[in-house]
Amino acid sequence: MKIVACIKRVPTTEAQAKVAGDGKSLDTAGWQYMASFYDEIAVEEALKTKEKLGGDVTIVTLGPSEASKEVREFLARGADNGVILKDADPAARDPRSTAKALAAKVKAIGADLVFVGRVATDRDNAAVGAMLATYLDYACVTEVIALDISGSSGVAKRETEHGVETVEFTLPAVVTCNKGLNEPRRASLKGIMAVKTKPIAEEAFESTANQALVTKVELPAARKAGRILGEGAAAVPALIEALRNEARVL
């Protein structure tokens, strides 16, 4: 089985936002990076599927050469190949443009199963997985918390506001992975050593122009300073009073 896991290099959750000089982007100075949180779950599911059904796992990312750090980490965990579709600023790419670039690569690989994170924690679009599937004419299940693949079909569970859905689907498919699906493994020392010098392909791709155009980026308005109403249960009446007569939410 040909398995692809798509990942994205994003700033760590500790990163502070600062608007860049152009007023239309963020100042990345001082940021540390990581693979987006849900991509860890996507890669783990790819590896588990390979262990169960055989095949190979290719990690695909749109990003700068520096993304080789994140790709290599996943190779150390057991992925077979890594490809960077060279993109200096993948965050600036809209979901359609990203999905089209990934679709071309997934098609070239001939993947039966594609795992992606539920959302990338930089632009929070949660759109690329389902768009990718639609461009490929693959089945797609989003926000998956349980998965069972057998033969040319699969059964997934997804959590919604109104309950847990059971979804049956056919392969090829794109699965977007949610927290709860699995517990990502750590790379073993042996794994790390084995891929230390493994080449990671960097490829050019055909770029589709963005349709989403950023006109302005701002920081959210600071919340006005609140007040400490007191200490302990003695402050509860003051809180009730404030919620009822000032904030009018009670």
């Binding site: 959750t13 500790e14 990163a15 797609c140 349709q211 959210p220 509860v236 009822r244």
Partner: protein, 317 residues
């Protein structure tokens, strides 16, 4: 007047609040709305849409099971048939599942989780958070169809007295993914994303056995959901569906009560757009107090039960 196609979700014969808000957003942009609605009870729900300002609803009939890709194709067809220039859905699990597929079928990009909408010079611009709300971007579109999902509890539903024309359309078949069953929640508990009041607990609750205090406070408010910080979800104290923050859910309730949550930047990103924030924490220097409108310093185990009793009493008046 240009038309916006809105995918409407419903429950027990009425449109979900999130969908009514999404319709409100489209109407506020000066568009007429054609609703697309499917599933059991859709016709009944469609007939009530005049109350939220919809004058035409298309009911997809004949599909035995929900298939997101089949519905997406039907919606894309409705967009094309009506020469619509915009498509909206609520940013629920279902809306976020279907909207990207519709957008791709229309070869248009998608603006997810939109928190603001305006019409400048006849074209739409949207506001949406980046990095879970650490930054706010304004964007315009050159897409053939403007596709967006609207964040819950941000836009107001309209209250109207229109009559809604209900038109049936045969649902397309051949879904590649089909929902075969839904295990409804054991209780009618609201999701953190849709609840008007959210009560969240963090590490300060000291263990999963104390979260009944959080649940009881939420229950005292009536329409409320329980939330949790990343630390307690990672520790396995609470289910991941409750996690609020950058790697969980982003919420905008009318009231957010953070109990025993220090306020890490990734948590603040997920709840800072709540209209009113209350913090209860034993550490007076906890960052959560910097974003809270009201704070009480002290022991959660003493304060929360007292607050629960006081809210219950206040609700009686």
């Amino acid at each position: 007047m240009s038309q916006t196609i809105v995918f409407v979700e419903h429950h027990n014969g009425t449109a979900r609040a999130a969908s009514a808000q999404c319709i409100g957003a489209a109407l506020s942009a000066g568009h007429g709305v054609i609703a697309v609605i499917s599933g059991s009870g859709a016709e009944q729900a469609a007939a009530t849409l005049g109350k939220v300002g919809v004058t035409k609803a298309i009911v997809l009939t004949g599909a035995p099971n929900h298939s997101p890709d089949a519905i997406a194709r039907d919606i894309a067809k409705v967009v094309a048939d009506n020469d619509a220039k915009a498509f909206f859905a609520a940013a629920t699990s279902t809306g976020k599942d279907i909207a990207p597929r519709v957008a791709a079928l229309l070869d248009s990009t998608l603006f997810s989780d939109v928190t603001g909408l305006s019409t400048e010079g006849g074209s739409l611009t949207v506001v949406r958070p980046w990095l879970a709300g650490k930054a706010i971007a304004t964007l315009s579109s050159s897409a053939p169809v403007f596709c967006a999902t609207t964040r819950l509890n941000v836009f107001a539903a309209q209250s109207a007295d229109k009559s809604c024309e209900v038109v049936k359309m045969a649902a397309g078949s051949g879904g590649k993914a089909v929902v075969t069953s839904v295990a409804a929640k054991a209780t009618e508990k609201l999701d953190v994303k849709e609840a008007p009041v959210v009560v969240s607990g963090g590490r300060g609750m000291k263990g999963p056995e104390h979260f009944h205090l959080i649940e009881e406070l939420a229950a005292a408010f009536g329409s409320a959901a329980t939330g949790a910080s990343r630390a307690v979800v990672d520790a396995g104290w609470r289910p991941h569906g409750e996690q609020v923050g950058q790697t969980g859910k982003t919420v905008s309730p009318g009231l957010y009560i953070a109990v025993g949550i220090s306020g890490a930047i990734q948590h603040l990103a997920g709840m800072r757009t709540a209209k009113v924030i209350v913090a209860i924490n034993k550490d007076a220097n906890a960052p959560i107090f910097k974003v809270a409108d009201y704070g009480i310093v002290g022991d959660a185990f003493e304060i929360v039960p007292a607050l629960t009793a006081a809210v219950k009493a206040a609700k009686k008046h």
